[in-house]
């Protein structure tokens, strides 16, 4: 199994979720986060002082999939989350050694 971690723009959440659902991937955990990257866009000011607001609101998705589903899930996410502008986000994939469904104790692929 692989964990797909995708940092996306918050307003793309629905689109990504829908795209994944079309692939039959229904398990997603979403975390609110702030991203710092190339999209340093808005240098802001608060009460006159310059504020290098590196941190832009983002959403971090964690999706654990069977290794064979990983590629197409990534493609689906990329397609759904892309706007073409700086700050669209990144996807990171890493290996999961074991997965457990708490309710049943099922393990690994059957736990997803």
């Amino acid at each position: 199994m692989q964990m797909i971690e995708a940092v996306i723009k918050p307003h793309k959440l629905d689109a990504v979720k829908t795209a994944l659902a079309k692939l039959g991937i229904l398990g997603v955990t979403a975390v609110e986060c702030k991203g710092f990257g190339r999209q340093m866009g808005h240098t802001e000011r608060y009460r006159g002082a310059k504020m290098d607001v590196g941190f832009v609101p983002k959403v971090l998705l964690k999706i654990c999939v069977k290794s064979e589903d990983s590629a197409k899930a990534v493609s689906a996410i990329v397609e759904a989350a892309r706007t073409g502008e700086v700050g669209d986000g990144k996807i990171f994939i890493y290996q999961i050694a074991r997965a457990v469904r708490i309710r049943t104790g099922e393990e690994n692929e059957s736990a997803l």
Partner: protein, 484 residues
Amino acid sequence: MLRPLLASKRMLAALAILLCLTLYSTARGQATAATPPPTAQDAINQISNTNFVANTLWTLIGGMLVFWMNAGFACLETGLCRRKNAVNILAKNFIVFAISSIAFWCVGFALMFGDGNSVVGHTGFFTNLLPYDAPKMPGASSLDWSNVSPAVKFFFELVFAGTAATIVSGAVAERIKFGMFMIFSFILVALVYPITGHWIWGGGWLSTLKAPFHDFAGSTVVHSVGGWAALAGVLLLGPRIGKYNSDGSVNPIPGHNMGLAALGCLILWLGWFGFNPGSTMTATVAAGHIAVTTNTAAAFGAVAATITAWAVLGKPDLSMILNGCLAGLVAITAPCAVVTIAGSAIIGAIAGALVVFSVLFWDKIKVDDPVGALSVHLVCGIFGTLCVGLFASPAVIPMQVTDAYCKPGLFYGGGGTQLISQLMGIGAVAATVFAISLVAWAVLKFTGGIRVSAAEEHEGLDIGEHGMEAYPGFATETGASEQV
């Protein structure tokens, strides 16, 4: 003898004319000859009307401030509960005043202030509040002492009834079914609150004691009644899941938004300037003295709770500071019009310390009250009612407008007469309200059930009862999920 008599007769006639003319022109002043001149009586009548208007508007403004306390309770109680139940508490506190308004108009007002016997009134259901332009309201003679338009008498009493119902909301929060709470609120305002209210403010038996039970603005009538009704509910509901450990220790469940809680308390403090000074139901300078006793008790209550919490618990817990302020306010509600400034300072300070220990006490006996409503409204309501019998000062008592003058308190040379009346009233109200409420809650419990399921309680009542979150946050920020 004739002529002089004749002469004097003519003179008499002349004089009479002269007299009339003189009087006339004197009285007329600058008025034109066409309309009759205003008399002093005209002026007096006009002043009476001005006073009638002033009384009415002052009481109306007081009522608005008491209405505003609904916002205070909503903020305070929501802030002191958990995020996952915030919508539910807001909805409860919002709807409870709407329901109270309906219940009091339909039934409550008639039972409480309608003419009847010494136990209950029975005129004025669905009142049309006429005449609007004269102070006496047919069928509600118990309010004749107040020279105020009937609509405003009704409005002022209505917002008080609403307050009693709101108190319950906080104590039963985070586990009660929304619909059942609506029903109980209706019962409370339609039946329970008016009956004991009738005894005290509606001309009933407690107001006709030799030393009439004195509760100026409702430490007992409003706050204790709300408190007893809440206690009955809390006992039948049981504590929130996870509040008490099997070993008897307490798991604190911190409020989710202290900003909302503090704002709520400040709103309540403001509202109390309608609650107490407005209870004069008369435009009178006595309202000023009452405003100062009210404020003094609140200030001393807040500081006393701060110091007590600091000393006993180690840190000045903000929720205790807020409770301390409210404790002072509830305690001064009954005696606000009969105590000196110094008296109010002492009452407030004691209440502020008392509330801290009371919060600990209820937790010790595992009565789970998320917002401290029992400590503030019930315990300090009783304490405040007693204070009338202890602190009423002969220097202050005369400023009251109502007939039901109070006897001086024990500490001011008045002996125990008033104190005994106060104790009688406290006991009678306690027994009655607690008993009826217990029955009402029990009926609801065994018919529809008053408590949400454990699963719903875990997940939060916002989702369970209302299908929404108070702060949905990022997940719904972009328009919700497309239908898959």
